[in-house]
Symmetry: C2
Subunit: 227 residues, 2 copies
DNA sequence: CGCGGCTTTGATGTTCATCAAGTAAAGTGG
DNA sequence: CCACTTTACTTGATGAACATCAAAGCCGCG
């Protein structure tokens, strides 16, 4: 935990572009950077919302835990993608949890300070609104997209997502366990594994533990589209 | 289509409570009220976003149409519940459609004017952000809730929703066709019908066309919770 | 080393989509 | 207003998709 050097922060433009330099300095003083190892809890469902949090680097999952302790992943978020833009302005407590899928760094600001900023600075408010709107849209469209597919299509979709949106290469380590994949796309662990095995048999993938290599991305894409 | 008398508008408090009276008058001048009959299209996916629209009365569905012309309902919204809070600040075009499930009245404001208002008035901006946050939360939690249930549980959940959230009585006319129910909860029309028929046989419901009467709400609720 | 969690595969049964076919209701044009 | 067409609704039969149960191998970690 340390103060963040806002001048160097990659995310400066996201939230501060609409502020003049002195204002940045003022508000930056309350900013704290936190590091999380893979697997660590960043936000626990039910806890009080005090901070405004955004991702500086890494990858996280947002998930909801139901009364039977089953987890459902709502979204996977990378830097710029998300932040605590969902409940923070309407609830006192989080109704979802966030944990790190990879080593992750967050920048945390005091929520009250953000609210003051919104009140005082129209440009900043507008930027925040646009960001919220974009994030929400993305999550909802992604949900709709997954919902209409069958098992094979969902798995294919997710693999393509990691390839094209996150890692930008065909070989990568899955940041999710088989169980978590199931929790995201709404199916059992066993069937996730079975589907992956089928893709392996069909020479679409090579699989070594968590390491995935997409060998036939065209076929995978067509499964994602039509399955 | 006529000018809206903002003094009398039920929704005044929702968006204008944070403005002083003179400001209300100024911004109200650009406001237009529109009436839609049941079934009419309010927003067509792909059309340009010019207005900021909210529901004054009635009931609407938000839905996405995929490349195979199949519709998926994202959300059902009643007054105060929604309105064009999703894409409007991040997109040029709507990526969902909205149609009236019942006779509906909307109030439409010029989006540019709303943006100006956000820029100039921090209180207003904050109110808008809170509203967006709440709406988004609600839709996402509802989606998660439905996703984890089986067929019977989903249908039960929807029936309970109409009973408790919309009509506040156990006998009501379904605002959705069987097909639309399927599009909302992600199953085929036939199975929606079958499930309703089962509930009828089990004396949980009386069904006469679109008219539903919940005869055993306790059982229905437990099916909704555990199914 | 052994325990617990993650992974894998197979066998089995349930849930659900699809196909087919018919009835009822609702809109349409003469 | 009636024949006609279309759309919504309903039920049954069938098979595909998927969950569940069971068993075993693997791996990391105390």
């Amino acid at each position: 935990m340390k103060n963040c050097d806002c001048e160097l922060c990659d995310l400066k433009n996201l939230f501060y572009s609409r502020l003049d330099p002195e204002a940045v300095l003022t508000y930056c003083s309350g900013k704290v950077e936190k590091e999380y190892a893979k697997g660590e809890v960043i936000i626990k469902e039910g806890s009080f919302i005090n901070d405004f949090i955004y991702l500086k680097s890494g990858l996280v999952k947002l998930f909801h835990t139901d009364n039977q302790q089953k987890e459902q992943i709502i979204s996977i978020a990378k830097p710029f993608d998300y932040v605590s833009l969902l409940s923070v302005f309407s609830n006192k407590e989080y109704n979802y949890s966030v944990t790190a899928l990879e080593d992750t760094v967050t920048c945390n600001l005091d929520l009250q300070q953000i609210k003051l900023l919104v009140m005082e600075n129209g440009n900043y408010a507008m930027g925040l609104i646009e960001k919220m709107s974009a994030v929400t849209d993305k999550i909802l469209l992604e949900t709709v997209e997954i919902r209409k597919k069958h098992l094979r299509g969902r798995v294919a979709h997710l693999l393509i997502y990691f390839y094209e949106q996150i890692y930008h290469r065909k070989e990568y380590d899955l940041p999710l366990s088989r169980k978590e994949i199931g929790e995201y796309i709404g199916m059992t662990t066993e069937n996730v594994i079975r589907t992956l095995s089928e893709f392996r048999k069909d020479k679409i993938l090579s699989i070594t533990g968590k390491t995935i290599e997409i060998r036939d991305s065209e076929t995978l894409k067509s499964i994602s589209s039509f399955g």
